[in-house]
Symmetry: D2
Subunit: 143 residues, 4 copies
């Protein structure tokens, strides 16, 4: 159970993953909070993240949600990757907006997991809802 893992250990696991995550840092994603099975992260939308409609590229909103999901499903230190994900785009996002993504574990079996990620802008408006299915590729570390 997630509850059996200390917050400290979760933070260390996420920090190690983040340190090696060049993509998340390239996108300016910052980790704001870590709990077992739960992560909050943020990203400021830069002008070079907009698309031809002049709004934030949906793929980069997805990338923020996906990173937050990835951190949340690795809080136990067991190598886990995304198997599938879906996203609903609720409102347009503009350059200069600061997005916050909150990932929460919905369900877990031995190898699979489901996580929900809600993305909001600086005014608290939800701009996207993301759901990810995780798949463990490694074994739990010896305690």
């Amino acid at each position: 159970m997630s509850e059996s893992v200390s917050v400290e250990r979760a933070r260390q696991a996420v920090q190690a993953l983040y340190d090696g995550d060049r993509a998340s840092r390239m996108l300016g994603i910052r980790i704001e909070e870590v709990q077992p099975g739960h992560v909050r992260a943020s990203m400021e939308v830069r002008p070079d993240m907009t698309n031809g409609h002049g709004i934030c590229h949906g793929g980069l909103i997805f990338a923020l949600a996906d990173s937050t999901f990835a951190f949340a499903c690795n809080t136990e230190g067991v190598p886990t990757v995304a198997a599938a994900a879906s996203i609903d785009f609720l409102a347009p996002v503009r350059a200069g907006d600061v997005l916050t993504a909150v990932a929460t574990e919905l369900w877990r079996s031995r190898r699979a997991g489901l996580f929900e990620v809600t993305v909001t802008n600086q005014e608290g408006t939800r701009v996207a809802l993301f759901r990810g299915r995780s798949h463990r590729i490694g074994e739990a570390p010896a305690s």
Copy 2:
């Protein structure tokens, strides 16, 4: 119907969208082929696109698929955005891999559309399957 739109007009619509799409250019996405309702695009996976597991960040694979989908659903020149999308990740992608995404229109109603995007690597191995739901936000231009 997509068939009634000339290939030339489709290319112009996609080119205009691409010219304003700073995110796609920041990611090095290149358009390879345009037909009405159909686009092929590619992206070379840079080292700064990898995550903490040392493989390409899923969000950036999604971004390539999403861009290709966006181009394909705008080939008629009617402003159209993504309402929702889902992705299944089939195989890991590494820095240096060159990904190709092919977007095809599956279905269209007056305002909504469904597109399928298949992403393969340079060896032809499918690495992701993406499905997007589009939503028209504008009216068709006068012919």
Copy 3:
């Protein structure tokens, strides 16, 4: 806003829909609670609802969730249908189990809506998570 619709009016709208819903009654689906944008319904799993693995057919778990979603997105009396849905199956369901589905509105635009449905068994174990996208096909009735 859902809040502006009285509970009484929501119940009447759902009752009218249920009265004409031969499929829901054929499956033994019962409406337990109605609020604007929110419905709880139940279904007892009959022996003729099991599949070749001896467990409840996933399509009928989906049907319960889909009915509950349909009732919830019609609480305002505006004809609304399902455009798309997804489901994750979390635990097997057996004949004799009594399933309860709770549908909640997550988001709404002028014509589209997103609803979440959680399906649990008689022990409170979640057996499925469903998400539906609704599409209004009619206009709101004059008040």
Copy 4:
């Protein structure tokens, strides 16, 4: 690989599953064709399958697609269940319509699989697109 399984063996595996599948028979689902990883099935929409809008209940269109998917992912005789599925509803279906679902394997790993199911009516119009993720729960039988 699917190709290594004989058509005869696939048919026997599907027939055994169908014989125990009371739900599919209750819904009048008939298997029309079986190949390894590929199944075609049909269902006539009865009046008791309609909903309060007077059209076929989406859950029963899903059930046809889900059964066809279930048969297709069990053609190798390895017990396999649905982990998740999504559906897009493209056109209304009415009582008396005869639906045909065709399930095809898109991808397979050791334990997971992805299948696409297209549902058409008697006029060949596509009424729904379904995608299912399968999960093997047993081991392959000794040959």
